[in-house]
Assembly symmetry: C2
Homo-oligomer: 493 residues x 2
Amino acid sequence: MNDILAYAETDPVLAENDDGAREAALRTELLVQQYELLAREDRAILFVVAGLDGAGKGSAVNLLNEWMDPRHIRTLAFGTPTPEELARPMMWRYWRELPARGRIGIVFGSWYQALFAQAARRARDEEALESMAAAVRRFEAMLVADHVQVVKLWFHLSRDAQRARCARLAANPDTAWRVSPDDLKVAKRFARLREAGERVIASTHAEPCPWIVVPSADDRFRAMRTGEVVLAALRTPPPAPSFAKPVKVADGRLDNLDYGDAAMKRGAYEKELMHWQARVGRAVRQARFGRRSLVLVFEGKDAAGKGGAIRRVGHALDVRQYRIVPISAPNDIERAHPYLWRFWQHAPTPGRVTIFDRSWYGRVLAERVERFASRRDWMRAYEEIDDFEAQWVAHGAILVKFWLSISDDEQLKRFREREKTAFKNFKITPDDWRNRRKGSQYRRAAADMLAHTDTPHAPWHVIATDDKRTARVQVLRTVAQALERALSTGDET
Amino acid sequence: MNDILAYAETDPVLAENDDGAREAALRTELLVQQYELLAREDRAILFVVAGLDGAGKGSAVNLLNEWMDPRHIRTLAFGTPTPEELARPMMWRYWRELPARGRIGIVFGSWYQALFAQAARRARDEEALESMAAAVRRFEAMLVADHVQVVKLWFHLSRDAQRARCARLAANPDTAWRVSPDDLKVAKRFARLREAGERVIASTHAEPCPWIVVPSADDRFRAMRTGEVVLAALRTPPPAPSFAKPVKVADGRLDNLDYGDAAMKRGAYEKELMHWQARVGRAVRQARFGRRSLVLVFEGKDAAGKGGAIRRVGHALDVRQYRIVPISAPNDIERAHPYLWRFWQHAPTPGRVTIFDRSWYGRVLAERVERFASRRDWMRAYEEIDDFEAQWVAHGAILVKFWLSISDDEQLKRFREREKTAFKNFKITPDDWRNRRKGSQYRRAAADMLAHTDTPHAPWHVIATDDKRTARVQVLRTVAQALERALSTGDET
C-alpha cells in the first residue's frame, strides 16, 4: 500500500458541468437497492465511519439517511463507555447493536477508537497495537462469515482543506455547533494524526474488509463518493472469507473415562455436597468476587444430569446473584444475527454468576451433527469461540466448562425411568431417542470440541455422571476450587 | 379486611407428624404444572415477593427454584436503580424484565419498594401514597389483562420470631451472610413497619391481584405454604379483570379538516422549512435539553407522508442524536409479552430524540379495524396508553403526536404514482389497496383515538397533508414550538 491517503489530499472537487442528473440516478438506485436488501434479508451491512475529525463524517451520514429510507438504517454512535458498558467486556456494546439481516447500521466511534488512540500516542506500543489490530481483523472476518458485510470508509482531506472547512462552518451560527474543539485541533497535529491513520489502515486493510478512502474537502465530491461506495456495497455481497481448517488435535479423555461402579452413599454425599456448597457460597461472597464474575457452562448428552447439577450449584448461591440461561434452538431474531450475538446478550457483570444450560458449543455439537451448520461454519467456530471466551476472561470472568459424560447403558436406564415417572415424562421426547441413535457422531463431535477448545483460560472438566452423587460433588468441588484459586491469586484464569 | 397480618403473627408451625409425603407430592405436582404452563404458553406468571426483612423471603424463593425447574424461572432482584435505570422512566426496569408467556418470574424489590418506603415514613404523605397505589393497581390490572398473572406474597411473622430467626442465622458462620443490617433493625421498628405493611396491603389488595400472607416463623410451614400458593396459581388462571368501557367523547377535527387547494411554492417552502429546521436544531442543542428528551409519534393512513415528514425532521438533527423506530406487526417475542412491552424497550433517555413511525396506537387503529385485537383489548388500550404516555412525560419527555391526514382523492393519486415509479414501487402493496377500501372504518378509529388520547401532556396535532410542502413545514413548526415552549418554561409538558 503506497500512501493510501495521498489522493485524498489533492482535495478533488466535483466537475462544474455535473448537472445533478448523476445525483438523482444515484439516489434512485440507492433506494431500490436498499429495499431489495430488506426484501432478501440475506445479510446485514455495517458501515464503519472513521477518519479525520472535521472531515464531514457526520454530514456524509446525514446525507445517506436523506437519500435512503432512514427507517431501516440504524446510526450507532459510541462515545465514552457508560457504566453499563464498562461493566461488560469491551466488545459487548458493539455486539448488542449489530443490525439484523436486511438492515443497515452505520457505526461512529467503532472498535477503531481504541486502535486509533494507541496509534496516535507519542510512545506507541507496537506490540499492543498489533494485537489490537489482529483482534479487529478476526472480529470483522467473523462478522462477514456470519452474514454481516463490513464496509469501512475513511474520510480524509488535506490539512489546509480541513482547516478551511472548520473555519467556514464555525463562521455560520447555524453550523457552528458542528465544529467540535477536537476538529479545531486537527490542523496542529495533522502530521501525527495522518501517520496514525495510515498505521491503523495498514494494519486492518485486509480482505474481506478493506478500507475505502473518501476525499472529503469538497462537500459534493464527498457526498457522491460516499453514495457510490454505499451503492457498490449494496449491490455486491462481500467475498466469502477464507477459511482455515482447524489443525488436527486429539483429546482422549472420553475414551478412557472411568464411569465407576460404586454409588456414593447418601450420608457421605450429603456431607460432601454441603461442604463444597458452603465453600462456593463463601467464595462468591468475598469482596474480591465483586470485581470478578463466574460463568459456568454445562454441556452433555440428554439425561447426563445437567439439570440436577445446575440445581445443586444454585443451592449454594443467593438466588438474587445468579441467572440460569437455558439454550435451545435459536429464534428468528437470533437467527437473523451472527451466531455469538445471543450469548453476548448475557455477558457477565461484576459480582454475578451466569449458568449456561447448554451454550455456544451447540454449533460444534448438535448443529454439526444435525447439519444445521455448514462444515465451514462449525469448523471456524472453534477459533471464534476461543476468541470469544478469551474476551470474557480478560474482563474478569472465571469460566468453568463441564462436559457431563454418561455411559450408553446408564442413559438408556434413565430414559426408561423418565418414561415411567409422571413428572419426569416431560423430560423425554422422541428427539432424545433419535439423538441417542446418533451416539457415535455426538461422541466424535464432543471429542473434537474438547480437543479444540480446552484452553488455559477456559479449560474443560470432563465428569462421568453414571453415579449422580459422585458427579454432583465433583461439579461443586470443581467450581469451588476454580473460584478459590482465581480469587486467592488475583490471577485472571 | 380485618387485620390481615394477625394470623401470621401466631407463628404457626408444621405438625410434627407430617412425614414428608405431603412435600413430595407437592414437589411432583409443582413440576408437572410448571411444564404444562411451559407447553401451553397461555400466560406468564409473576410472583411478587414482599414483606418483612428477615422473614425468609430469599429462602422461600431458593426453595421454589429447587422444587421446580429453575431453568424456566427468572429471579428478578431490583435494588438501588443503576444509572441506566435512572435515565429512564421509573417503571422501565420492571417492564424490560417481564417474563414471556410460559415463563415464571419472581420479583424482589418490586414496584412496592417505593410504596412501602412512603408508607413507612414518619410524616407520610397520604395523597402521594394513594396516587402511587392507584398506579400500582392500574399496572397490575393491565398485566393480568395482557396475560401476565400477578401473584403477590407477603411474608410475615411476629416480632419475637423475626428476632429469633435472625439471631439463629447470625450465630452460624455458614448462614450469617444471609442476615443483613436491615434485618436486625426490624425488631426495633416492628410496630411502624407492620403498620406500613398493612397500609400497603390495604391499598393494593384488589382483584385481580389480592395479597396472600405467608406465615414465616417456621421454615417448613413457610416452605409448604409458599409451594401451595404457587401451585394454586399455576393451576388456576386469574379472573379476567373487569373492563371499563371508555366514556363516549367526540373529536370533530377530522370532519372539518381543510385540505387546502393551493400548493406552497418551492421557494417559500425551502425558506420556511430551513427556518423551522434550524429552530429545532438549536433547541435540541440547548444545555437544558440534556435533561429532557423528545418523542415524536407519526400516525396516518398509507401515503399520508409519514416517511417524508420524518426525513425532514431528521435533517434538522445530528444523526447521532436521534433514532427512528419503525413499528409494524409484532414478532413472536413481542407477541409473547404484554402489548406495551416493545415500546418500553425504546423508552427515551436524556438528550435524545426518538421518532416513532407508527406506534403504540396500532392497537386502536389497525389492530381494531383488522380485528387482531379483541374489543375489550382495544377499548382498554385508551386508558393504558394515556397512563403510559404520562409516565414518559413525567420523566421529562416532550411528547408530540401527529396524525397526518390525507384526502381520499390525494391518496388514490399517490398510490397510482407509486405503482408507476420504479423506486416507489416498493412502497405499495396489495395491503395498501385493501386498507384503502376500509377507509371509513379507519376514519372512525382515528376519530375515536383523537377523542380519547388527546391529553394535556400529550396532545395530538392533526395535519392535512394533501400538499406535502405545507404539511412538512407545519410538522417542523409544531416540533420547534413544542420544544421551545417546553425548554423555556421548564414546564414538563
